[in-house]
Amino acid sequence: MKIDVELKNVTKKFGDVVAVDDVSFSVGKGEFFSLLGPSGCGKTTTLRMIAGFEEPTEGEVHIGGELMTDVPPFKRPTNLVFQHLALFPHLNVYDNISFGLKIKKLPKDEIKRKVEQMLNLVRLPGYEERKIRELSGGEQQRIAIVRALVNEPTVLLLDEPLGPLDLKLREEMVVELKRIQREVGTTFIYVTHDQGEALTMSDRIAVMKDGRVLQIGTPMKIYERPKSRFTADFIGRSNLFEGSYANGVVEVDGLGRIIVEPEPQVSNKRSVLVCAKPEKISIGRTLKGLDNIFAGEVKEAYYQGLVTTYRVLLENNSLITVVALSSGVKGARIFRLGEKVKVGWSKRDANMII
């Protein structure tokens, strides 16, 4: 796969504060790559270094195979969709979208054709003459995206562009963004703190915390095989058990043995975390054929329509979260508060964090 963007040991310091700490990753051509992390994790700074608004203190940024050090933003083959969109308030939709093309001095009819094409792409045909303040939040969003996209950048950078939208609109735009990316095939680097957005749209995700990249992988890998306590907690919910490992078994104080997939590299007696996702855990009066089965008592139950979330108190006095299909869906049933139940999961679903 051709690599479009590559960061090599990039560090950014603001005075004494290390905003980005030795970050390296490469993004392939046509990939939808997300930087996911809580606010202040350095994801926006990383993006701004790719765009050229910040220079790395150390390390290199390569775009399309070229070293970008000392290349100012207006000469980089990137375009950024800003967090607060930064649409030009004094220009109409047409002039906003054609801003970059006019600077490149493209012929008038070509500009016109491209703007039209872009407005069709985001399903806003005929919007050329509209003023920016006359547009709804979602419409402004789309204009901001195509204003960047119309320049055919090697890579499109998106800095939490869906942040200011309400939930419903955000869900719509997530689908829309993915569709746009599929249609144009441009490399996208997307910054977000919203795991839902990242999981839905990305080909790969880099989880960031405190300026470092903790894990890079497909949404499924990140979600199901988190490599750190932070990732396990940040992406979805996780039940975590601390114990010491020996030959495919983790001994948890007060609870007993959790059988996991053997990891030859892990030395015996080492303290590890076992992570079990709530929806991978079965709940029932009796359970059979699972590697790990524990008895417990239903303490809380939240009916959420399709699923019901249970909080089950185990023998070691810890609460475990279980998500099961609600009653009415085939084979599932609702458990009452205080009911004695069994919870269990197979060793495949007992992901070990070393």
Binding site: P72, N79, P89, F99, I103
Partner: protein, 324 residues
Amino acid sequence: MKDDTTTGKRVLCILADHLRPILSYLPPRLRLNLKKLLFILLEMKKLGYYWRLFPGVFWLVVFLVLPLSVMLIYSFWTKVGYDMIPTWTLQNYVDIFVGEKGLYVRLLLKSLGISAAVTLGSIALAYPVAYYISTRGGKYKYVLLALIMTPYLVSWVILILGWRMIIGHSGLVNTLLVGVGLERVKLWKTWMAVIIVLVISWAPWLVLPIFVSLEKIDRTLLEAGADLGASPSENFRKITLPLSVPGLLVATFFVMIPTFGEFVAPVIAGGTSGATIGTAIEEAFKRMNYPFGSAMSFLLVGIALIASFVLIRKTGLRTLMESL
């Protein structure tokens, strides 16, 4: 009962309903008077609200409406000897256009020209300063702004006379010119001197509205411009300048209208070649020709009003007021 829409009347009707049994004991004539009294009391309550406008209205009346009304009335009168006769004629206005072989029209145009030149000149001086303070001022922004205002601590007339020492007959400029073996130039007592003096005096003041409109520009717009390929100078032309237009219009307001009727600078710095409509008005009042002076003044007010109206329509009152 008729459909009474005002609350006052409705209240009165309810009151009347309750009072009717009592009223019926009273003689008919007194009954009617009581009703009238109630009405008057209610009207007075309404007046109470208008009283709250009093301070503002009083201020406007004393400082604006009163003197201007006197002037407006005078502008239709005629001067005979040293007396003003209430003739109610438009002759004074006609005289502005036809009198003295069109002198006043020429003065009017000259004043317009000077005020346009002063506006352009002072904006050209103030804009770079405002831009510099806004973009590079950092934490000293407001200190720098305060420093910009220091010339106004000195009297206006003293400032003008100060400029005489620079561009006057044996001023700094001419001394230098003679020093390098060139001819003296006559700057003082020309219309150029009037423009220079006015530009210098207005420019610092204009830094303020321009600064405010520059400060309001979202800096990420410039980042967006850069991201879309605009060089810093293209960014300035395509984003900063158009977005600072409200500030420029406010600046135009500030300068153009007062300069239009200016007469101090033309008299001191311009001498005889500095004659403007402002000096003509002053002249007329000096010669006790109040009707003609008033008519010229009112023409100025009219032109200023039209100019303001056009400016407001063009920018929108809101943008204008926000950048003040």
